[in-house]
Symmetry: C2
Subunit: 351 residues, 2 copies
DNA sequence: TGTTAGCACTCTTTGTCTCTGAGTGCTAAT
DNA sequence: ATTAGCACTCAGAGACAAAGAGTGCTAACA
C-alpha cells in the first residue's frame, strides 16, 4: 500500500475524529502535500479498497470499520504523557482508598477526561481461596451468609428460613463450614460439593438446605464478573450514537461482558462492526487490564464513538491501568515488609 | 365552581391523559352534554381561572398544574381493582424473597405496568438498634467493618490501615464494640461518641482511629435513605419529557430524595411545577409508604409524566404498598408464634 | 506517466412559500 | 343561557428554489 495513501487515510481519520463531519479533499491538503485532485483520486481508490466511504455522492469521506482498524493498528501515533499530565491524572485517583474505590476513581476520571462511558470489570479469579464463611442470624428466621475471599472481596446474602435455627444447629453448621470450606478454592464450590455437605448435616439437613442453596449462589456470584458502568450520560448525549440503541443498551448492560473477558491480556480495541451482535453502532470499546499480585484483577475500559481521540485516550487508559497495578502491588510489598518486621518483634499471625 | 365546568375540566384531563394531544371542544362533547360553543365558552373561563392553557391560539386546551391538582384531589375516580387484577399483581411479587427483593419485585412490576420509572426508598429508622458490629481482617492490613441493625439491614465497609492489628488489638476492639455498641440506637453513633471510644482505646488509639472513622461513616450510611430507581428507560423514551432534562436527572438522582421523605405518611402526589427545583418538567411523582412492624420502612413510588393514568396507577401503587406491608407483618407474626413454640421446648435465645 | 486545473454534476441543507385543517373567539339568533 | 355560524389564527406538511460543499472526469502539463 502506497505511503501517500496511508497518509491520506490517517489524515481523514484524524480530521474526522476532530470535526465529526465527512472530510473533503481540500481539508486533507493541509496534511498531505498534493493537490485536491490527486487526493480525490487516492480517496476514490481507498474507497474501492474498503477503508473509506461516502455518506452520499457529494459529501466527503468517512472511515469504514476497516479504515479505523488500520488506523489504530498501524497508523495512529500515541501521545506521550508529559510529567505534568501524569501528575494531573494522579491527582484524580483516590490513591489511598480501598481497591474498589481506587479503581472507581480512575473510571470516574476517565468519564470526565474523555466524555465517554467508562467500565470497571473486576473478577475474582476462580482459584481464589475462601478465607471466611459465616452464617449470622439477623432477625426472626433471617440469616446472612457472609463470604470473604483471599483477594479481599466480601459479599453477603440474606436468607429467610422456614424455621429458626437453634444455637446448636448454627454452631454445628458454622463450624462445619469453617473446617471444610475455609481455604478451599472458590471454584470448588460445586453442586456436588453442596450435596456432600447436605448429607453431612445429618439430622439438620432439611432445615439447612435453603442456606446451602444460597451458599452455592453466593459462591457463584463471587466468581462472576462484576461490571460497573459509569458516565452513561456521555453515551446519551453523544451525537454519533442512535439514542434508541443507547437506551436499549443501558437497559441490558450484560451485553458488554464479552468485551471484558478475563482472557484478554493487553490493550484491547473492538469496534461494533455491522455483523456484530453488540447493539451500539458506531461504537468502540477499549480496555486495558490491571493486576494485583501478578494476576489480572480486572479491566478498565472505555465505551465511546468510533471517532474517539485514540491518540490521547489510549495513553490515559493505559496510564491508569498501570498506576492501579503499581499501587496495588506497592500495598502488597509494603505489607510484606511490615509483616516481616512484625514477626521479628512478636509472633502474631492473625489471618 | 360550576359543576359543568368541573365536568369539562375532568373530561379535558381524562382525554389528554389518553391522547397526549391538546383537547378541543368537539372532543369534550362526547363527555358533557352541551354544544361545542358552550364548551368553548366554559373552557375560556377555565383558562382564565388558571386550570387550562393553550399551547397556541388555534389549538385545543391542556391542563395546567392547577388543573391536574384539582383533578387528582377531587375530580378523579379511582378504579377498583378486581380480584383477578389483584391476583395478577400478586403473581408479579416475589412473595417469599427477602424484604429487599420483595420490594424490588414490586418496583419492577410497576415499571412494567405503568411505563414509568419506579422508586424504592427504604430507610432504616434512626431508633433502630445496632444488633451486631464486627471487625473482620480480610487481607494484609485490610479490614471489614460489618454492621447489622435490628431491622435486618446489613452493610459493610472496607478499610485499609497503616499497620496490621495484632490479635490482642483486634480482640480488644471487637469486644469493646460488642459490649458498648450492640443494642444501642444507631442514631446514637455521633462524633462525640466515637471520640469517647477513641479515648477508651488507650494505647491502641492511634492504630484504631481510621477504623473508628469508618465505623462512624458506616453508621451514618445505615440511617441514610437508600433510594433505588428502576425503569429509567421509560423516562428516556417518554415523549412528554425533555430528554436533556431526563439525562441530567439520571446523572444526579439525589434530587428525588426530598419526594420520598420519611415524614410523608400517606399517598403523596407531587407535580414538578414551574417554581420547583425538580429538574424534570411535566413530571409527577406519586408515592405510598410501606410498613414493617407498624413502622414506616420505606416508600414505593412512581415517576412519570403529568398525564399519567392516575385512576389506574394509584390503585396499583397502593395495592403493592399494602401487600408488602401485609407480607412483612405476616412474617413477623409467623415468627412470633414460632418463637413462642420454640421457648416451650428449649431455651435457645440466639439473637 | 503521474499530477493538477477546470468544470459539470450530484446531493444535502436551508429557507420561503403555500395550502390544509383543526380549533378558536365572537356575533347574532333562538 | 345556549347554540349555530363564520371569520380568523396558527402549526405542520409539502413543494420548490437557491446555496454550497464535494465529487468524478477530462484535458493539459511537467
Amino acid at each position: 500500500m502506497d505511503s501517500r495513501k496511508l497518509k491520506i487515510l490517517q489524515a481523514v481519520v484524524d480530521e474526522y475524529i476532530v470535526t465529526g463531519e465527512p472530510v473533503g479533499s481540500k481539508a486533507i491538503m493541509a496534511h498531505v502535500k498534493a493537490s485536491s485532485a490527486t487526493i480525490r483520486n487516492e480517496m476514490a481508490e481507498l474507497e474501492k479498497q474498503g477503508y473509506l466511504e461516502q455518506p452520499h455522492t457529494s459529501a466527503g469521506r468517512i472511515p469504514t470499520y476497516n479504515g479505523y482498524r488500520l488506523y489504530v493498528d498501524t497508523l495512529m501515533e500515541r501521545d506521550q504523557l508529559t510529567d505534568e499530565e501524569k501528575r494531573a491524572l494522579d491527582s484524580m485517583l483516590d490513591e489511598n482508598a480501598s481497591e474498589e474505590e481506587l479503581v472507581n476513581s480512575a473510571s470516574l476520571a476517565l468519564t470526565q477526561l474523555t466524555q465517554c462511558a467508562s467500565v470497571v470489570a473486576s473478577s475474582t479469579p476462580k482459584f481464589s481461596l475462601i478465607s471466611k464463611v459465616e452464617v449470622i442470624p439477623t432477625g426472626k428466621r433471617m440469616y446472612v451468609i457472609l463470604m470473604i475471599t483471599s483477594n479481599g472481596k466480601i459479599k453477603n446474602k440474606v436468607c429467610r428460613l422456614e424455621f429458626d435455627l437453634t444455637h446448636e444447629q448454627l454452631e454445628f453448621f458454622d463450624k462445619y463450614l469453617a473446617e471444610n470450606l475455609q481455604g478451599m478454592p472458590i471454584d470448588d464450590v460445586s453442586e456436588e460439593m453442596i450435596e456432600k455437605i447436605r448429607t453431612a448435616m445429618g439430622a439438620y439437613m432439611v432445615t439447612l438446605t435453603p442456606l446451602l442453596g444460597e451458599l452455592f449462589n453466593l459462591a457463584k456470584e463471587m466468581t462472576a464478573q462484576d461490571i460497573k458502568l459509569q458516565g452513561e450520560k456521555n453515551l446519551l448525549t453523544c451525537k454519533d450514537f442512535d439514542q434508541g440503541e443507547i437506551i436499549d443498551f443501558l437497559d441490558n448492560q450484560k451485553e458488554i461482558e464479552k468485551f471484558f473477558n478475563d482472557s484478554f491480556s493487553d490493550l484491547q480495541i473492538s469496534f461494533s462492526s455491522e455483523g456484530d451482535s453488540f447493539a451500539i453502532h458506531n461504537s468502540s470499546i477499549i480496555s486495558a487490564p490491571f493486576k494485583k499480585g501478578g494476576v489480572q484483577a480486572g479491566r478498565l475500559g472505555l465505551i465511546g464513538p468510533m471517532r474517539i481521540n485514540y491518540s490521547k485516550f489510549i495513553p490515559y487508559l493505559e496510564y491508569f491501568s498501570q498506576r492501579i497495578t503499581t499501587l496495588l502491588s506497592e500495598r502488597d510489598d509494603d505489607t510484606a515488609r511490615l509483616e516481616i518486621e512484625d514477626k521479628e518483634t512478636e509472633e502474631g499471625g492473625n489471618s
